[in-house]
């Protein structure tokens, strides 16, 4: 399993749970879940690139 696939699946599952717990209306749940998922993936990739120059 690639790192990106693990990140994507993990982000999808976590976003789903957060969305149903924090929103009541189904439409708001879907919108919030998608937004959270996108932020998870984009910010993780961005953080990965920002850490790239550091030899850790």
């Amino acid at each position: 399993m690639s790192h990106l696939l693990i990140l994507t699946v993990g982000a999808a599952l976590i976003s789903m749970v957060f969305a149903v717990l924090s929103q009541d209306a189904p439409r708001a749940q879907v919108r919030y879940g998608l937004k959270l998922f996108g932020l998870f993936v984009v910010l993780s990739i961005l953080a990965g690139w920002l850490m790239y120059p550091f030899p850790l």
Binding site: I6, L13, V17, F18, V20, L21, D24, P26
Partner: protein, 133 residues
């Protein structure tokens, strides 16, 4: 169900079931859609963590922070004891997915604790009295 705003024996029993089986509390409160998503999300994350050979945090006196990790993972309920019983709790530190896996099993437990708080709010009528999602 109970709109008195207090913890009744029935709600207490629902909370225990909700802890043992993610999603069960919402199902018992007739929030079946929400229950299905919670069960899929929390158990999916927990199983994915085990598939990645992450195992679960175990209390270790030499590393006090592991107590917090174990307490968080314990939030997943019956799955914690089943995995402990079948011997998958240790994980494989040499596997590539170990860190991801261990983090996922911890997050699954923490998310179920959040779900428990939601069950409490729904059960006492503090939240979503008119919602049925």
């Amino acid at each position: 169900m109970d709109n008195s705003g207090s913890l009744t024996p029935r709600l207490g029993a629902i909370l225990v079931l909700a802890w043992l089986v993610p999603g069960a509390g919402h199902a018992l409160l007739n929030r079946r859609g929400r229950a299905a998503v919670l069960a899929l999300g929390i158990l999916g994350l927990f199983i994915l963590g085990l598939v990645l050979h992450g195992g679960m945090y175990a209390p270790d006196a030499a590393e006090p922070l592991t107590y917090l990790g174990a307490a968080g993972t314990l939030g997943v309920g019956a799955g914690y004891f089943v995995v402990e019983y079948v011997g998958l709790a240790t994980g494989h530190p040499t596997e590539r997915g170990f860190e991801y896996g261990r983090t996922f099993t911890l997050i699954a437990g923490l998310l179920n604790i959040l779900a428990l708080l939601d069950v409490y709010d729904l059960g006492t009528g503090r939240k979503g009295a008119t919602q049925a999602a």
